[in-house]
């Protein structure tokens, strides 16, 4: 009981505000990162499908590298990358420095785009060929087929995995605290370190992320239920 009351002790006053600002940053990083990541991922998937072969190979290499390395290592590269380039260039006049927040957002977007692009690729593959052939035989153009047939069908097919991916991105935002992005975990860590209250602070964090994940999952399921009305006979 003592531990629990001390947990709630942190939820008001200055500590409360710091936690809230961290939460706001986490949610901004998460939502903006997801939207940009999904958009970039969609672009990658389309470019790989319809673009020339070398583009496909290049983007495949990009996707494999991002998916084959830990997000933490990517975050370190972005974080240390800027200052190191300044040093390497000698006089420091040409300098690529990223605020931790922007480095974090960039990292999330690029990381997410690799995974989202694979989801979209699988979605393209899963659309029955016959549906596209039917569109062709009734005289749809390529663009009409993409917009009227492929996109809506793909949305239904990939929605569950998109929700999972978006939840994964939320959890990855916590890693950004290691490169001093002032998100939720960063702010709660400050309090935990100050008061030597690690178990309490990590319990708060676990509960908040858990709640966000459950909310996201519930929204995803509601969206799926709405869309399932359009899921006509898949034979």
């Amino acid at each position: 009981m003592n531990a629990l009351s001390s947990i709630f002790g942190y939820l008001h006053g200055d500590d409360g505000w710091n936690i809230l600002s961290g939460l706001a940053n986490t949610i901004i990083l998460w939502l903006v990162g997801s939207v940009l990541g999904a958009a970039l991922g969609f672009f990658i998937a389309v470019a790989r499908r319809y673009g020339p072969k070398p583009v496909d190979w290049l983007l495949k290499a990009h996707v494999e590298v991002i998916r084959g390395t830990p997000f933490l290592v990517q975050a370190y590269l972005l974080y240390f990358g800027g200052p190191y380039l300044c040093l390497a260039l000698g006089d420091g006049s040409v300098c690529l420095t990223l605020e931790p927040f922007h480095a974090g957002l960039l990292g999330l977007t690029v990381y997410g785009s690799a995974y989202y692009s694979e989801l979209f690729r699988a979605g393209f593959e899963a659309i029955p060929r016959g549906h596209i052939e039917a569109a062709t035989t009734v005289g749809f153009t390529r663009w009409q087929t993409l917009r009227r047939i492929i996109l809506p069908e793909m949305t239904m097919l990939v929605l569950p995995s998109m929700v999972n991916m978006t939840i994964l991105l939320l959890k990855e935002t916590a890693v950004l605290s290691i490169i001093s992005v002032k998100e939720l975990k960063f702010q709660v860590d400050i309090i935990g370190n100050r008061d030597y209250a690690f178990v309490e602070s990590f319990t708060i964090l676990a509960l908040v992320y858990w709640a966000l994940v459950e909310i996201c999952g519930a929204v995803g399921r509601a969206a799926e239920a709405r869309l399932s009305r359009y899921r006509f006979a898949h034979s």
Binding site: T69, P70, V199
Partner: protein, 213 residues
Amino acid sequence: MSWELFWLLVEASGLTILYSAVSIVVGFFVSAAVCAGVLSSNRPISAAARLFVSFFRGTPLLIQLLLIYYLLPQIGLNVPSAVAAVLGLSLCTAAYQAEILRGGFQSVPRGLIEAADMCGLSAFATFRRIRLPIAVRLTLPALTSEAIMILKSSSLISVVGVVELTTMAKDLASSTYQPLPIFAAAGFVYLVINLVVAGFGQLAERAARRGHA
């Protein structure tokens, strides 16, 4: 960056592989129990198993690792940080593997079980000879991805001071002031390990597709 530094990273990657492999194997056995719990008709057991899955899939692994790392000494268990880290990784992957297993069992076609039924196979024989091999075969791709996920996630145990690839990269980066090449090299080592694992996964799938599950 010198070969000596790169070699230190490769050596540290052995620990990454060790911790990941132990976590995946321990996680598999925990996941079998959790999956059985989720599918159990006993309500309290099923609810507890679902809660376990929901928590470990619903919170960042980084937080789980830190929570376990600080919680164990408070409840009187003073274990080395590597043990706490492997415990965290194992519990997390157990939650994911339990869901993978459940999906596998649920997608074994009904007709194959009916055929076993008509041949008079007992429930246990049907499980051991038909359902289990087919479920494992169906889940091989997902289990391979999960193994790769854990290999990458194991980089997070660097935050509790366990020596492995990312910890080594961090130490070398700060002692040599060359973070960019060192982290790039560390990323390269992770990439190679994961490509090898993915390759083995594909071999296993190909073997399974012909039947030898």
